[in-house]
C-alpha cells in the first residue's frame, strides 16, 4: 500500500511497513464489506422460523453443537472478517438485551445491506442511504408501537405469557418443539417466582438451569428450590428428609486455625498437654451453649476420656452443637475426612460436602437460611428450611442428585432438564434461556406484536406509505428489506415465498388488519391472533434498531487498512 509516489514512481515510505499493508477504499471497500455481511446473513437465513433448520458446528477440540439459535451459531463459527464480526456482535447484543430474535436481527441486517448494495450501484451516497434507513427505522418503530397490544397477566393468569414463550420455543429444535407447552409453562412459572413485580426487575441469576443426561424431555421439571449435583456424604445416610433444617457452613469440620503461617514448638509433654487443653477448652466453651450436652447426653462421654480419639471427640462436640441448634442437614462448602463422615452418619446427621459457592448462595436464598462461617455463630434463626430434601438416583447409573424442594422462600428456582443426548440438553437449555428472556421482557413491558412475519409485513406497508411522502430511495429499500423476513419464513416452511408474501400483504391491506402472517405450521389460518403467535414489542423494536445501527456503521466505512496477511 503506497500513499504517494515521487516523480520517478518510487513510493514514499510514509507508514511503518507500508508494503505489508493493504488498503481498500471507496466503493470497493463498501462492496467488500457488504458482501461479507451478506454472507453471514445467508448462513442464518435458513434457521429462521418454526421450520428453520439446525446447524451442526464442530469446535477445534471436537465438541459438536447442534443449534438454530443465531447468537450461538455465530459465536461458534469463529469468523475472522471484521465486518462479519460486527454481525456476530449484532447478534450477541440482541441476545444480551432481549435474549430472543438473534437470527431475525441478522437476517434483517443482511437484507438491508443487500438493498444498500443496489442503491450504491445507482450512485447514491452511502450516508444518504444510512440516513434514509434511520428515518425508516423510526417510522417502523412507531408503527410497531401503534399495532402493538397490551395484555394483562397476573400470577394467577399466566396464559398470555405461556403463549408468547411458546412462539419463541416453536422456532427452536424440533425435539423441543414437541413439548413446547410444558416447557413454556415451566419458563413462565420460573420467571414469575423470582420476579420482583413491583420493580419490574428479574434477576435471571436466580434461576438455575440444570441438565442431566437420560430420561426424556417430558421429564423436565421445575423445582421450587435447588438441585445440587452432589450426594450425601455417606451412603447410609437417610435419602429423604422431611422439613429439613439446613445448616449452611463455609468452615471445614475442624477446629479453627490461624490464617497466618504459624508454628507451635512442642518439646515437652507438658506443652502438648497444654495445647490439648486449649483446644478442649475451646470446645468446652462452645458446648456451654449446648444445652443438650449438659442435660445428660452421655454418649459423648465415650470419647471424652480417650486421648487417642482426640480429634474425634472434638468433632462429636461440634456435631452435638450443630444438632442442638436444630439442624437436620449440614451443607458444607469444604470437605471432611472419613472419620468425620463416619461420625456424622453415626449421629444421624446427614451432610453434603464440597458444595460450590454459587450453589451455596442459591440454597441460602431458596431456603431463607444464612451462610455461617463459624460453628459458634450457628443459631436456630440462621438455619434454612426446606419442605423436602431428597436424594434421587437416575436410571441404572450411579448418578445421584440432591433435591432441595418446597422451600420456605422460593426466590431461587431450578429448571431441571432431561434429555436423550447431550446436544439435545444443551439446545434445550438455550431454548429455555430464550423463553426465560421473553418472559422477563414481558414483565418489564407487557406489549406484544403478532409474529409469523405479520409485524414485518405491516411495517413494510407503513414504511412504503411513508416513502411516498419523503424523498429518496432508501426508505423504499427499507420496506423491501422488511419483506425479506416473512419471505425467509415462507421459504423455510416450504411455501412459495413470493406468492405467499404477496397474498398475505394484499390481505393485510384489504382488511386493514395487521394480524395476518405466514402460516408456517400449515394450520389453515393466516390470522396470527387465532394462531396465538406473539412476540414482544421491545424485542421487535430492538431488532429493527440494532440492525439499522450496524448497517449504518458498515455503510459509513469507506477505507479499510489492514495487514496484508489478513
Amino acid at each position: 500500500m503506497a500513499l504517494a509516489f515521487d516523480e520517478y514512481g518510487r513510493p514514499f515510505i510514509i507508514l511503518k511497513e507500508q508494503d505489508q499493508k493493504t488498503r481498500l477504499r471507496g466503493i470497493e471497500a463498501q462492496k467488500a464489506n457488504i458482501s461479507a455481511g451478506k454472507a453471514v446473513a445467508r448462513i442464518l437465513r435458513t434457521s429462521l422460523g418454526p421450520k428453520g433448520m439446525d446447524k451442526m458446528l464442530q469446535s477445534p477440540d471436537g465438541d459438536v453443537t447442534i443449534t438454530n439459535d443465531g447468537a450461538t451459531i455465530l459465536e461458534q463459527m469463529d469468523v475472522d472478517n471484521q465486518i462479519a464480526k460486527l454481525m456476530v456482535e449484532l447478534s450477541r447484543s440482541q441476545d444480551y438485551e432481549i435474549g430472543d430474535g438473534t437470527t431475525g436481527v441478522v437476517v434483517m441486517a443482511g437484507a438491508l445491506l443487500e438493498q444498500a448494495e443496489h442503491l450504491l450501484e445507482r450512485g447514491i451516497h452511502p450516508i444518504r442511504i444510512a440516513e434514509g434507513y434511520e428515518m425508516a427505522s423510526r417510522i417502523d418503530v412507531e408503527h410497531l408501537e401503534h399495532i402493538a397490544q397490551k395484555f394483562d397477566f397476573a400470577p394467577t393468569n399466566i396464559e398470555p405469557l405461556v403463549q408468547t414463550c411458546m412462539t419463541t420455543l416453536s422456532s427452536k429444535m424440533q425435539v423441543v418443539n414437541r413439548c413446547k407447552r410444558p416447557l413454556a409453562e415451566i419458563s413462565v412459572k420460573a420467571v414469575l417466582s423470582v420476579a420482583d413485580l413491583e420493580r419490574k426487575d428479574v434477576n435471571l441469576d436466580l434461576i438455575k438451569v440444570e441438565g442431566k443426561l437420560g430420561g426424556k424431555l417430558e421429564d423436565t421439571e421445575l423445582i421450587y428450590g435447588i438441585t445440587v449435583d452432589k450426594d450425601m456424604s455417606h451412603p447410609q445416610m437417610p435419602k429423604q428428609i422431611q422439613d429439613a433444617k439446613i445448616a449452611i457452613l463455609t468452615c471445614p469440620f475442624e477446629p479453627p486455625k490461624p490464617k497466618t503461617k504459624h508454628k507451635v514448638d512442642i518439646d515437652t509433654v507438658e506443652k502438648f498437654q497444654t495445647l490439648r487443653q486449649q483446644e478442649q477448652k475451646y470446645f468446652d466453651d462452645m458446648v456451654q451453649k449446648c444445652k443438650w450436652f449438659f442435660s445428660g447426653g452421655g454418649v459423648g462421654g465415650r470419647y471424652w476420656y480417650t486421648p487417642l480419639q482426640f480429634w474425634g471427640r472434638q468433632l462429636v462436640l461440634i456435631l452435638m452443637f450443630v444438632q442442638d441448634v436444630g439442624a437436620t442437614l449440614v451443607i458444607c462448602q469444604w470437605g471432611f475426612d472419613d472419620e468425620a463422615n463416619h461420625l456424622l452418619m453415626h449421629r444421624n446427621l446427614p451432610a453434603v460436602r464440597w458444595v460450590g459457592g454459587v450453589e451455596l448462595e442459591l440454597i441460602a436464598i431458596a431456603t431463607g437460611g444464612r451462610i455461617v462461617p463459624r460453628f459458634q455463630e450457628l443459631t436456630p434463626e440462621k438455619l434454612g428450611r426446606a419442605g423436602l430434601v431428597r436424594e434421587k438416583s437416575f436410571g441404572t447409573t450411579k448418578d445421584k442428585m440432591l433435591y432441595i424442594e418446597h422451600c420456605a422462600n422460593s426466590r431461587a428456582v431450578t429448571i431441571f432438564i432431561r434429555g436423550g443426548n447431550k446436544m439435545m440438553i444443551e439446545e434445550t437449555k438455550r431454548s429455555i434461556h430464550d423463553a426465560l428472556c421473553v418472559a422477563r421482557n414481558l414483565i418489564r413491558n407487557n406489549s406484544i406484536v403478532y409474529g409469523g412475519g405479520s409485524a414485518e409485513i405491516s411495517c413494510s406497508i407503513a414504511v412504503e406509505a411513508a416513502a411516498d411522502k419523503h424523498p429518496g430511495y432508501a426508505i423504499r429499500a427499507f420496506a423491501d428489506a422488511l419483506d425479506s423476513v416473512p419471505m425467509a419464513l415462507a421459504e423455510n416452511s416450504g411455501l412459495q415465498p413470493i406468492e405467499t408474501l404477496s397474498a398475505v400483504k394484499s390481505q393485510q391491506i384489504k382488511e386493514n388488519n395487521p394480524h395476518f402472517g405466514i402460516d408456517c405450521n400449515d394450520v389453515g389460518t393466516n390470522d396470527m391472533r387465532e394462531q396465538n403467535v406473539f412476540e414482544t414489542l421491545i424485542g421487535k423494536q430492538q431488532q429493527i434498531l440494532l440492525a439499522t445501527q450496524v448497517v449504518k456503521m458498515i455503510l459509513k466505512i469507506d477505507d479499510v487498512i489492514s495487514p496484508s496477511d489478513f
Binding site: 504517494a4 514514499f12 460486527l86 420493580r199 506443652k271 495445647l275 441460602a364 451462610i371 434498531l545
Partner: protein, 562 residues
C-alpha cells in the same frame, strides 16, 4: 586535473542518507499531502469512517482525525508533524482534529508551486504567519459571545455546539439526544476541572437511545462472594461508607510467621484473627452505613456478615469509580474503620442495583454535591460503542471549552469562507510577493467547505462560487453562510445552529500554520543509518530472540535464524 585527484571528503558515516535542497522540500510536501488525503474523507456530517486493523489484530472503526492518525503508524519524518498537530489539537480542544490536518496539508500544497518556482521558503513562512494572525483576529471579531445568558439559554446554546461536533460522527443520527446528555453531564460537574468526574461506561447491547445519563455514579457489579444476593439491592437516602481496606479473614501481614513456644497461646491467636475482622465489620455496621464500598476485596465472611445486617457491600471497586462516588456522595475514602464519623460518609437519594443489558449495575443517583455524572453508553457492537465514546469525548471537550471561552462562530465552512474573503481583500493592499502568498493562504482555507461538498457528493465548485458571492456582499450579511449539507446549496449556518466554539477554529488555524511553516523551513533531512539498523536489530532480536538468549551472542546468528 588536480581537483580530480583530491580525495573525497567523507563527513558522514557510510550509508547516511542525506537529501537536501528544493527537491527535499517538495518531497516532504508531497508526503504530507498524501497523509492529509487519508483523513480528507472523514470531514463533516457526510464524512466516512475508516476501518483500521493493527498487527495485533485489534480493529478500530473511527471518524476521529487524531485516532486515525495515531493508528496509521506514520514513519515519514515530515508527515509525523501532522500526527503531532492532530494530537495537540485533540488534547487542547478535543475536536477539529481532521480540520487541522487538512488545513496543514492544504497550506503546503498551495506553497508547493511557489517553492518549485524558486521562492525562498522564509518569504512564504513570513507571509503565512502574517496571514495566520490576521485570520485569528478576524475570528475573534466575528465570534459571538454567549456570556451573560441564563442557564437555560446557555444550555441550549451549548447543546448546539455539541450537536455540530456530533453530526459528523456515527451517532450523528441521535445528535440532539446525545448533545443534551453531554451538556447535562458537563454542567453537572460544574467548574470542576477534573474531566474524570464524567464517567463513561460501555455496555454492549441495546440501541443508542437506550444510553442514559446518571446524575451520580454508576458502575458494574463487582465480583461478589456467596451471600451477596441476600443483601438488599435498593436504598433510599443510605449512608455510604467508602473504604480502602480489605475486609477478609486472612493473615494480617504478608509472609509473617508466628512461633509459639507456649501452646496455651494457640487459641488466642485464632481468636485474635477472628476478632480483628469482626471488630472491623462491627465498626462498619455501627457507623450506620447502609452501603459499604471498598477498593480492595470484601471477602465472603464480610459479605455474609453484611447480608445478615441488611447492608449492601461491594469490594474491588475500581479506584476511579470509588473516587467518583466520593465526590458525588460527599464522603471521603477511609483507610481505617476506626472513628468513623458521619461527616466522612456520603449519601445519595437512591441507590439501586439494576439490570443494564447483560450486566447488573450499581447506580447511585441524586447525589447531594452532584459534581459527577456518568454516561452509560449502549450500542450494537463493541466497535460501535468505542467510536461513540470517542465522539462523546470530543463533544464533552467542546462543551467544556465553549463554557469557558464562551464565544462561537458559524460552522459548515462559513467561518473559513469569511476569513478567506477577508484575507484576499487584505492582500490587495499589500505590495510585493507577499500578496500572492497571502492569497494562496486564503485559497487554502477554502478547502474546508470544498471538502464538505466533496464528501457529500455535491458539486464543490458550484457551491463554492455561491458562497464566495454571498460572502462578497458589501453589506456583510452573507458572512454566516456556509454549506447546507442537506440540500446541496448554501444556508445561513448561524441561523441553522451549526456552531463551533471559536477556540476550536483559532487553535486549528494556529497549529496548522505552525506545522506548515515548520515543514517549509526544513531543507535537509539527514537520516542516520544507525537508527535504521537499530530497527532491523530490534526486529531481529524479536524474531530470533530465543537464539540469542540461548547463548549465541552473535548478532549474525540471530539474523540468520529469521
Amino acid at each position: 586535473m588536480a581537483s580530480m585527484l583530491q580525495p573525497q571528503i567523507i563527513l558522514l558515516k557510510e550509508g547516511t542518507d542525506t537529501s537536501q535542497g528544493k527537491a527535499q522540500l517538495v518531497s516532504n510536501i508531497n508526503a504530507c499531502t498524501a497523509v492529509a488525503d487519508v483523513v480528507r474523507t472523514t470531514l463533516g456530517p457526510r464524512g466516512m469512517d475508516k476501518l483500521i486493523h493493527d498487527d495485533k489484530g485489534s480493529v478500530t472503526i473511527s471518524n476521529d482525525g487524531a485516532t486515525i492518525m495515531k493508528l496509521l503508524d506514520i514513519v515519514h519524518p515530515a508527515a509525523k508533524i501532522l500526527v503531532d498537530i492532530a494530537k495537540s489539537q485533540d488534547s487542547e480542544v478535543g475536536d477539529g482534529t481532521t480540520t487541522v490536518v487538512l488545513l496543514a496539508g492544504e497550506f503546503l500544497k498551495e506553497a508547493k508551486p511557489f517553492v518549485e518556482d524558486g521562492v525562498h521558503p522564509q518569504n512564504l513562512i513570513r507571509s503565512y504567519r502574517t496571514a495566520c494572525n490576521l485570520a485569528i483576529e478576524k475570528i475573534k471579531e466575528i465570534a459571538v459571545s454567549i456570556e451573560g445568558k441564563s442557564l437555560e439559554e446557555k444550555k441550549s446554546l451549548l447543546a448546539k455546539c455539541a450537536a455540530t461536533t456530533l453530526s459528523s460522527k456515527l451517532i450523528g443520527g441521535e445528535k440532539e439526544f446525545f448533545a443534551s446528555m453531554v451538556v447535562d453531564a458537563v454542567i453537572a460537574i460544574g467548574n470542576e476541572d477534573r474531566l474524570n468526574m464524567i464517567g463513561i461506561k460501555k455496555v454492549p447491547g441495546g440501541n443508542m437511545r437506550d444510553s442514559f445519563l446518571v446524575n451520580g455514579v454508576a458502575f458494574k457489579k463487582t465480583f461478589s462472594y456467596a451471600g451477596f444476593e441476600q443483601q438488599p439491592k435498593k436504598f433510599l437516602n443510605p449512608k455510604i461508607l467508602l473504604l480502602n481496606i480489605e475486609l477478609e479473614l486472612k493473615s494480617e501481614k504478608e509472609n509473617a510467621e508466628i512461633r509459639l513456644s507456649d501452646p496455651s497461646q494457640y487459641q488466642s491467636i485464632v481468636d485474635a484473627e477472628w476478632n480483628i475482622i469482626y471488630d472491623k465489620l462491627d465498626k462498619c455496621v455501627k457507623s450506620g452505613a447502609k452501603i459499604v464500598l471498598s477498593r480492595l476485596a470484601i471477602g465472603d465472611l464480610a459479605t455474609q456478615y453484611f447480608a445478615d445486617r441488611d447492608i449492601f457491600c461491594a469490594g474491588r471497586v475500581a479506584e476511579e469509580d470509588l473516587n467518583r462516588v466520593a465526590a458525588a456522595a460527599g464522603g471521603t475514602i477511609q483507610t481505617s474503620v476506626n472513628n468513623i464519623i458521619d461527616e466522612v460518609m456520603g449519601t445519595c437519594e437512591i441507590f439501586e442495583e439494576k439490570q443494564v443489558g447483560n450486566e447488573r449495575f450499581n447506580i447511585f443517583s441524586g447525589c447531594p454535591s452532584g459534581r459527577t455524572a456518568t454516561i452509560v453508553l449502549r450500542g450494537g457492537a463493541d466497535q460501535f460503542i468505542e467510536e461513540a465514546e470517542r465522539s462523546l469525548h470530543d463533544a464533552i471537550m467542546i462543551v467544556r471549552r465553549a463554557l469557558k471561552n464562551s464565544t462561537v462562530v458559524p460552522g459548515g465552512g462559513a467561518i473559513d469562507m469569511e476569513i478567506s474573503r477577508y484575507l484576499r481583500q487584505h492582500a490587495r493592499t499589500i505590495a510585493g510577493k507577499s500578496q500572492l502568498f497571502i492569497n494562496s493562504y486564503a485559497k487554502a482555507l477554502e478547502v474546508i467547505p470544498r471538502q464538505l461538498c466533496d464528501n457529500a457528493g455535491f458539486d464543490a465548485t458550484d457551491v463554492l462560487n455561491k458562497l464566495r458571492q454571498k460572502h462578497a456582499l458589501p453589506s456583510g450579511e452573507g458572512a454566516p453562510y456556509g454549506v447546507d449539507i442537506n440540500t446541496g446549496g448554501i444556508a445561513d449556518s448561524f441561523a441553522n445552529f451549526v456552531w463551533e466554539p471559536s477556540v476550536v477554529k483559532i487553535n486549528a488555524i494556529n497549529a496548522a500554520t505552525e506545522a506548515a511553516c515548520l515543514i517549509l523551513s526544513v531543507d535537509e533531512t539527514v537520516k542516520n543509518p544507525k537508527s535504521e539498523s537499530a530497527q532491523g536489530e530490534a526486529a531481529a532480536s524479536a524474531m530470533g530472540g530465543r537464539g540469542r538468549g540461548g547463548g549465541f551472542p552473535g548478532r549474525g546468528r540471530g539474523m540468520r535464524r529469521r
